[in-house]
């Protein structure tokens, strides 16, 4: 590690410590030294909790401190932290999968056919201008309070992002490279498989990192509006009890899930796009 990198990491730790310290003691300290009117009310631990309180809530929700033991604690609550996390992750995964799959497929088809893309362009523009979140109550009405409505929501949110990127990526394929492949004996389908798809993949991947976040947003919003289980449901329940610590626990779990998934996508991207200079590791 270079000296520069070490100093960057040292400063990051300082910033983190200041943030956590201010969060833990800042409000109480400000109340002691500042006039009452100057202390921002929304920073009251009643609203934002405290790192120590969040940690305690995490241990309790995660069944680490339950006197009955870990498994008995899990069984007592069918939307405990771990079940909620798995349910949210699972719905997110399936939504991401169908949204990405359909987005790539239709993007590829319309990107390759000027005729079809002209036919469908106004419909896609119209559908795309609907805020996806506005559809959630409708989707819950159609598909119920269970997992399916969350999968549908996540998929719809993901679909358009991936569709537009795949479409643009397919349009941007070098025509001479396609001609070269044809002259080397490639059929229309082989051109698609060996030239168009690999070439468009860079564009597709540019959309996958946001698509992961969008899938998570889709599922969580679905769970806010109506769900039986999941991290979003956990937050809504905690809100009903005005329990900021539990809400913060769910938010942190989502943050960590989001970070891990982004790393996974970047790893896959780095491997599949290793021919591009920005992913060069050597």
């Amino acid at each position: 590690m270079t000296a520069r990198k070490m100093s960057i990491w040292a400063w990051r730790l300082v910033v983190l410590a200041v943030l956590l310290g201010t969060w833990e003691w800042g409000f109480d300290l400000a109340k002691l030294v500042l006039p009452k009117a100057w202390v921002p009310k929304f920073l009251d631990p009643y609203f934002v909790s405290k790192p120590t309180a969040i940690w305690a809530s995490f241990l309790r929700l995660g069944c680490f401190t339950d006197p009955l033991g870990f498994s008995a604690c899990l069984a007592a609550n069918d939307n405990n932290l771990w079940v909620a996390m798995l349910v949210t992750l699972k719905n997110m995964w399936w939504g991401f999968l169908w949204g990405t799959g359909l987005g790539m497929l239709t993007g590829l088809v319309l990107g390759r056919s000027d005729y079809l893309s002209e036919i469908f362009a106004p419909f896609i523009v119209a559908l795309n201008s609907i805020p996806r979140i506005a559809l959630v109550p409708l989707i819950i009405l159609m598909f119920g309070l269970g997992d399916l409505s969350k999968i549908v929501t996540a998929g719809i949110v993901v679909y358009f992002v991936v569709f537009f990127n795949t479409y643009e990526g397919t349009r941007a394929v070098d025509r001479d490279q396609i001609a070269a492949a044809r002259l080397l004996g490639a059929s229309e389908f082989t051109v698609l498989r060996t030239v168009v798809v690999p070439s468009a993949l860079a564009w597709v991947f540019a959309s996958l990192t946001p698509a992961v976040s969008f899938a998570l947003i889709g599922v969580i919003v679905g769970e806010f509006i109506g769900a039986e289980r999941g991290l979003g449901k956990l937050i809504i329940e905690a809100e009903a009890r005005a329990n900021a610590s539990e809400m913060m626990v769910a938010i942190f779990v989502m943050m960590i899930v989001g970070i891990l998934l982004a790393i996974v996508v970047r790893r896959i991207q780095g491997y599949l796009l290793r021919w591009q200079p920005q992913f060069d590791k050597s």
Partner: protein, 277 residues
């Protein structure tokens, strides 16, 4: 300038067969102010084993002719045949190999995978491909770069990959559209050396488009000279230099210099006309 008869008509002998036949070929492009004639009534033939350079100033329609021969571009009039078969726009002839001026190497494939592309999609197994690909890599002087991705290579090396990607399929007829046009002089000479070595061994039928007189004289057995836009056949003559040729030594020879300056007069006139347009 009087209309020059295509030399093929005068010198045609029974021996080598006609591989490429171009008859009264026309190409018009639709422009903002009416049609633009790019190619006007061009006829010539290329016989088995000939290395023909299609030489002309920029914008004379020589690449347009080549693309119509390859079936990549629709004709406005006239006919093109490979052997006895008329060329159909959009249909690919497996006897024909084509090398582009622009870099068309697939950046997501390694050098090996690029060169083996045609064999791979034809269904050859990995083991069947490996030996051929290895030989092509050695011929191209790319040993040690088989596993590299194209972005790590220079422009000249990438064009070697493109050349071998075409040659590995053993095309009987090779169409080349200013393949070394984007390279610097030194790299160009290196490429000439490689191409001459391959061609003098295998004697494919070659139609090579270029605007570089020196390049045409170095490589070709025959030069077809086109006029500036619209492209018309201007002259058709044999290049008398003995083979095997060494591109550097050839360029330094006195006979090269004489022929170069002789042709330069007619080509120079064309260049002035292009500029005046």
């Amino acid at each position: 300038m009087s209309e020059v008869l295509p030399m093929t008509a005068m010198t045609a002998t029974a021996a080598p067969a006609d591989r490429i036949t171009v008859r009264n070929l026309d190409k018009r492009f639709r422009g903002a102010s009416g049609d633009v004639v790019a190619v006007d009534n061009v006829s010539f033939t290329v016989r088995q084993g000939e290395f023909v350079a299609l030489l002309g100033p920029s914008g004379c329609g020589k690449s347009t002719i080549l693309n119509m021969v390859a079936g990549l571009l629709e004709r406005s009039g006239g006919g093109v045949a490979i052997d006895a078969d008329p060329v159909v726009h959009g249909a690919i002839n497996r006897k024909v190999g084509y090398v582009f001026q622009r870099d068309t190497v697939f950046p997501w494939r390694t050098v090996e995978a690029n060169i083996g592309y045609g064999l791979e999609i034809a269904g050859d197994s990995k083991t069947a491909r490996a030996a051929k690909v290895q030989r092509a890599i050695e011929t191209a002087g790319l040993s040690g770069f088989g596993r590299s991705f194209p972005r790590t290579l220079s422009g000249g090396m990438r064009q070697r990959v493109a050349l071998m990607r075409t040659l590995i399929l053993e095309p009987e007829i090779l169409l080349m559209d200013e393949p070394f046009g984007a390279l610097d002089t030194h790299t160009k000479l290196e490429m000439h050396k490689t191409l001459l070595e391959i061609w003098e061994r295998e004697r494919q039928t070659v139609l090579f488009v270029t605007h570089d007189l020196g390049e045409a004289l170095t490589l070709a057995s025959r030069i077809i000279l086109l006029s500036a836009r619209p492209g018309r056949l201007k002259e058709d003559f044999e290049v008398p230099f003995a083979r095997p040729r060494d591109p550097v030594a050839l360029r330094e020879s006195a006979e090269f210099g004489r022929l170069y300056s002789h042709i330069w007069h007619s080509l120079g006139e064309e260049f002035r006309r292009t500029k005046a347009d």
